[in-house]
């Protein structure tokens, strides 16, 4: 049986990769794809900790994480479509002036 801590290493690496993608990419869609990679890391971690404690709470939390991921994708993509209509580009740098 594979130890739960091995899964946690995979979860940490996936989360780190998603963070790098979100910080460095300029395409709005790819930025949100990177958040989905972060979600995968969290999901692996939840299941690993649930397994470590020997109960199913981790898997139940992971179901709620799936719900949040779906909600996030729907709202983020709606916002991206609105932004694309304003300025015909997906470049996050085009909205620099919002930094304040």
């Amino acid at each position: 049986m594979t130890q739960p801590s091995c899964y946690m290493v995979v979860g940490a690496i996936l989360f780190g990769l998603g963070l790098v993608g979100f910080l460095s990419r300029r395409n709005l869609i790819v930025m949100f794809l990177s958040t989905e990679v972060m979600f995968q890391g969290v999901l692996v971690n939840l299941v690993a900790f649930g397994r470590y404690h020997g109960n199913l709470d981790g898997q139940a939390f992971a179901m709620f994480l799936l719900v949040i991921a779906a909600v996030e994708a729907a709202l983020a993509l709606a916002l991206i479509v609105v932004l694309f209509r304003r300025q015909a580009t997906l470049d996050a740098e085009a909205w620099r002036s919002m930094r304040g």
Partner: protein
């Protein structure tokens, strides 16, 4: 596990981070092949070394390495490819590999739900928006990243901190549970519908609100005027 052993973790992770910097798309990307070798080698070394020590004789299923490497490598491609459609397709590979890991962890229902919801619904929505908004030729904002070194440094610090803590923690053996006789789906459902029943209802309401909100956000003023005239 001793603190000195964590330095090996940091070193392999640092090599992978340097490789990732070289892999990030940029205007005059050279050394990308060397970066790929560094990144893949570093991650593979980290996985085999750290998990080997964490397992401590308990043994590791060979499929764990297959799925873990597949998930991490395709996640790396998601953030380094210059074509958004390919990024979405590599995300599907990541999701399928993570589903494989979940099956190994005896979370069969979650693995099936992940494939259906992620690979089947969320990624399709992304591909829809990419087709709606993407120019056919490669764009300059896809071909170059902003501040790849700083971004990889932030990711490296976070991942090194987490992996260092994992390496130094004294993990007791996990509580060994026999798989539920009625199956994983029934077991998860009984937890969801008893302990977390109210949360489940709230999650359903949240989905409904999000869908209505998304429709409200993307509507055009002209659509509303047409609807009022008819």
């Amino acid at each position: 596990m001793k603190a000195e052993l964590a330095y090996g973790v940091y070193a392999t992770l640092f090599a992978a981070a340097v490789g990732l910097v070289l892999l990030c798309p940029r205007a005059h990307g050279r050394y990308a092949r060397a970066g790929a070798v560094l990144a893949i080698g570093g991650v593979a070394l980290l996985l085999t070394d750290l998990t080997g020590r964490l397992a401590a004789g308990a043994g590791i299923n060979g499929f764990f390495y297959v799925f873990a490497l597949l998930a991490i490598l395709s996640a790396g491609r998601v953030i380094t490819t210059t074509r958004p459609v390919y990024a979405a397709l590599y995300l599907v590979v990541t999701v399928l590999a993570v589903a494989g890991l979940l099956v190994l962890a005896e979370a069969e229902f979650l693995a099936a739900a992940l494939v259906i919801v992620y690979a089947g619904a969320i990624v399709v929505t992304y591909v829809f928006v990419i087709m709606l908004a993407q120019q056919s030729r490669a764009t300059e904002y896809d071909a170059a990243t902003r501040e790849p070194t700083a971004a990889v440094a932030a990711g490296f610090l976070l991942t090194a901190a987490i992996c260092g803590v994992i390496a130094q923690t004294r993990w007791t053996d996990a509580i060994v549970t026999t798989p539920a006789p009625e199956g994983n789906t029934v077991a998860v459902a009984s937890v969801l519908l008893s302990t977390y029943a109210i949360s489940l209802e709230v999650a359903g309401v949240l989905l409904l609100v999000a869908i209505v909100g998304a429709i409200y956000i993307v509507r055009r003023d002209s659509d509303i005027q047409e609807a009022q005239q008819t």
